[in-house]
Symmetry: C2
Subunit: 230 residues, 2 copies
């Protein structure tokens, strides 16, 4: 069975992406990051999901992006709440973390090289997050090209790195549909940027709002418990 | 004064590269990594050098690449000693750390974006390390291209990222000459892959051998103390 490194945050998208990789016959190595994010509760979700979806291994790497800050996820900046769909869809939000996907993919590339894996799965989607530079297909292609020049396997031509983004062209409702068709248990996931001390979702940040809208449009009940009136 | 992020390991190359960046009029932000390397002694050198060369700030990020291993620098693998120049110059050595420069440059990109810096300095050279995939000019160009698609500044066209590798075409002797012309105090640096518990260089690993050869060819005395007969 070919090996793949799957970036797993524990959220809706990365969990669905992981299930897609499994359904394509890959032996999946889950990679998560404790980078000082406000919503570290997602790491517990990632652990549950890696176990449930039978990851061959699960590594959580730690480093502190709060040292750089400049994002609502890694700095003392409030997470925006109750924004409209139009507001969310346009511009780069303050929850954007500089170069985060580049850092994540770089570690995935390192692990893939060690494992002898050619394939890396990343759950970005270009629809809901149209404003994120590092979710766009042209960025992913450029990373893949760089990756094939960066490694021993690349230089020897023995392994051609492929970055898979199976959700790239899907909106949240389509992702929820896809996940259900693959048997994903979304009660295990965590999407909120600003959970309370017990890890419960706020229901009102961009990530919660997009998720709830996706479930509603897909005609499924989101199994998470949101605060009343959020 | 324009800002630049300078990767600083504390060795001969990165220290010289830092001095080049300073000489070109940049306000230099030094970035080092505690990645579980065998030769953590280099981090003390990096701290000394950042202070001496008046870095605007110096960040040392920590993460554990021993979790992936597969290199003599991050795994229980002996560091090769007493290799000939020919052996060192050909093939990819066991001290190669998978995707290390990609990881380092990704963090540099993140910090550069936060600082509003367009310029990143990296002390790779393509002559002595001809076998390292992530020291080659084509790799650096591909990283730069990717970087310009990865960030907010890149997408807005407000800042064009440049990866500077001023040592790329120099051999070690030329680097030593350049450093001396810029007033670098090489007694502050650390190059050895396999130092003793007190941080003293072994004198016989590839990094020590290339350094010693460079000083000898340049006609300068290497101020470090090597063991007798090493």
């Amino acid at each position: 069975m070919p090996r793949a490194v799957c970036l797993l945050s524990g959220g809706l998208d990365s969990t669905t992406c992981f299930a897609v990789a499994r359904s394509q016959g890959f032996d999946c190595y889950a990679l998560s990051f404790d980078y000082g994010q406000r919503h570290r509760a997602e790491l517990e979700a990632a652990r549950r999901i890696a176990k449930l979806l039978r990851a061959a291994d699960h590594v959580t790497l730690s480093f502190d992006l709060r040292r750089f800050g400049a994002s609502a996820l890694t700095d003392d900046i409030d997470v925006p709440k109750h924004r409209s769909t139009t507001e969310i869809a346009h511009g780069i939000p303050i929850t954007y973390v500089p170069a985060r996907n580049t850092i994540f993919l770089s570690f995935a590339l390192a692990w893939a090289e060690v494992l002898g894996a050619a394939d890396i799965f990343l759950g970005v989607n270009a629809i809901d997050y149209s404003g994120y530079p590092d979710c766009r297909p042209e960025y992913i292609q450029a990373f893949e090209r760089m990756a094939n020049l960066a490694t021993k396997a690349g230089i020897e031509g023995s392994l051609r790195c492929r970055i898979h983004t199976p959700l790239a062209q899907l909106d949240k409702a389509a992702i929820v549909h896809l996940g259900h068709s693959l048997g994903v248990d979304y009660s295990m996931t965590h999407s909120c940027y600003d959970p309370d001390a017990q890890g419960h979702p706020c229901g009102a940040c961009d990530s919660c709002l997009l998720r709830r809208k996706g479930f509603a449009e897909a005609g499924f009940v989101d199994p998470l418990n949101y605060p009343p009136c959020s």
